[in-house]
Symmetry: C2
Subunit: 343 residues, 2 copies
DNA sequence: GCTTTTGCCGTGTACGTTAACGGAACTGTT
DNA sequence: AACAGTTCCGTTAACGTACACGGCAAAAGC
């Protein structure tokens, strides 16, 4: 299907390209009658603006502000995806500006957000993990008509251009299932929680809720599930006590510190049979996975999240096309056997 | 980092844009001395051709020939990914032309391939599942300087612009692992093979090899593994005989017909305990997965394969950027719990 | 010496869109 | 009738690249 140009529209309508342009851009100053005529011809002629011509003319560089933490490999991978996407789109005028905040510090988030906003970006990618403050910031962005994309966590009320991340509740549900494959009866499980770290985190809560839901649905008593609260500088002596009845233990680690727990189990020379599941394909977790010390890792595809974040803004800003508002990452199950092929 | 334009290069070199253009396009007719000067300035000025300007000028539509089978949902999903990608890139001049062949018929492949080549496409996406003929075709494409991308299966010798698909061997290995989770000793397994269908298929062979490798590595006797050859219009009476010793059976279905096998098991009222794994997230398999009649499905991400195939050619033809030659799909493990989030 | 060939280079136009600018035609006011 | 204000529209110059075309000089040919 061939596409018509504004010049052709102008010819057919008996007006000039300037008029056609005013109609198509809703810049006013055109008689209702001619406006309708132009629109009619445009529609019939399958008019779509030529992306190349538009961007050549505008000759704009698109500044994307990236508002993320950087404290671990998960976030670094997320950044890597963003950088790779940006370098692909570099020739199309996409440029990045990173603003890094400390996710245990609300003020640092606000400070960096304000810096980002002051830079008057064309689009923003952010992880709204500090919810209240993120809502404030998004309200500001909305007022300034700056599109923003969420990665990692969602904040439905803030109505982002797109959310890119995982269904955390369901991932916990899946974790419970995987821990119980091959066992017909409900099994004892321990959830490890870092008191100084996970307690502020909605994501962790949702994973745990999903985990419990599985036990409920199976008709297993929730008393099977214990929560091990771990303060900073922890010891896992308590693990032994929880496994006396049958010597087998299920460990659900709802954050990315699986490797730490495993190391601790080793140092306390725990010998009961265990099945362990954790989150995030960071190198230390991959190591323990390959060593058969962890059975499953659920991957959040941080690289892809970052990549898709940039792509969403690219589509919105440059192509001016539709963007899927909800882009759920798959609930990737990683084992020793397939971890090499995960991204 | 700002980018220089050919006009600026021309100015600095004291020549005209025409000369700069001749240098950059290696069209000759320019003195060695000025050529070197121009290249030097271009390099120092970080020259990159403006994608918008180039494509506006060229005003080309890029015709991609898609050479795939269409006999089942797997291939249809693959096509869907291709179509979606193409519609995203439509405004950039990407157009598709489908050529559908019957994968059990060499001649139909050759016929469609030749049609595709005669259409003088700018790029080709194909599944080289009929290996010998595919090599012929690729040789022709190479002679015509037409870039081609492989999806689904690879053919290393043909040196495609990119291969996009799964490591089939490793996927079989993974399947064996998943079937044996929770069992410390080697377990009896049955592999189902469609004699009229799978026998020509290299992919199936590799999956089975990978499956066996797992047993070997565990030190389990290969005699545990039986192969059930299924002719057209099959009956699965034999299944019962293979499970008398302990009543538990592992089923490995190395193709996408898992749902058929399950239906047969039901109709023969087989009551032994089974764990079943198959391939491909087609609706019928999703149904039996959700019904708890199948434990795992390994997904090949056909949608993503198709999407990435178009993207690879887009990058090569329009952006003129680098394309990763080996793009392995993750070995996606699907269960009842996460199948909704797979793509 | 002249013409012809060759090597090298500049000019000009077009691709489709955008938006500033200016101007014609019309309306309303004094 | 003169003027200002409003509404509507056309003209034009970019944006950076690609390439056809023509042209000038030096080298080659007779």
């Amino acid at each position: 299907m061939k596409r018509i140009t504004i010049k052709e529209i102008a010819q057919q309508a008996g007006v000039s390209v300037g008029t056609v342009d005013r109609v198509l851009h809703k810049r006013g100053e055109v008689a209702e009658k001619t406006k309708l005529l132009v629109l009619k011809i445009a529609k019939e002629g399958n008019y779509q603006t030529n992306v190349f011509a538009r961007n050549l003319k505008l000759n704009k560089t698109y500044h994307l502000a990236i508002l993320l933490p950087e404290d671990n490999e998960y976030w670094k991978t997320q950044r890597k995806g963003i950088e790779d996407a940006a370098s692909e789109y570099e020739s199309l005028g996409v440029q990045l500006q990173f603003y890094t905040f400390d996710r245990s510090n609300r003020d640092s988030f606000l400070e960096q957000s304000n810096l980002a906003i002051e830079s008057k970006p064309d689009g923003v990618i952010l992880a709204p993990i500090i919810t209240d403050e993120a809502e404030q910031i998004c309200a500001q962005l909305k007022r300034g008509d700056i599109p923003y994309v969420f990665v990692d966590s969602n904040l439905k009320s803030a109505e982002p251009l797109a959310f890119i991340g995982q269904d955390t509740f369901q991932s916990g549900y899946l974790a419970a299932k995987l821990l119980n494959i091959g066992f017909d009866n409900g099994h004892q499980a321990v959830i490890t929680i870092y008191t100084d770290f996970d307690s502020l985190n909605k994501t962790i809560d949702e994973r745990i809720s999903g985990f419990k839901k599985f036990y409920l649905e199976q008709g297993w008593p929730l008393s099977l599930i214990s929560e091990l609260k771990i303060p900073s500088g922890f010891e896992i002596k308590e693990v032994k006590e929880w496994t006396i009845n049958n010597g087998r233990l299920h460990l659900f680690i709802p954050n990315s510190r699986t490797h730490q727990i495993v190391k601790r189990l080793e140092s306390t020379q725990y010998e009961g049979l265990t099945r362990i599941i954790g989150y995030d394909k960071i190198q230390l977790n991959v190591d323990v996975l390959k060593d058969n010390k962890v059975d499953f890792i659920i991957n959040q595809n941080p690289y892809r999240q970052g990549y898709l974040g940039v792509q969403a803004l690219y589509k919105h800003l440059i192509i001016k096309g539709e963007v899927a508002p909800l882009q759920y990452m798959p609930l990737d199950i990683l084992t020793k056997e397939n971890v090499e092929f995960a991204n």
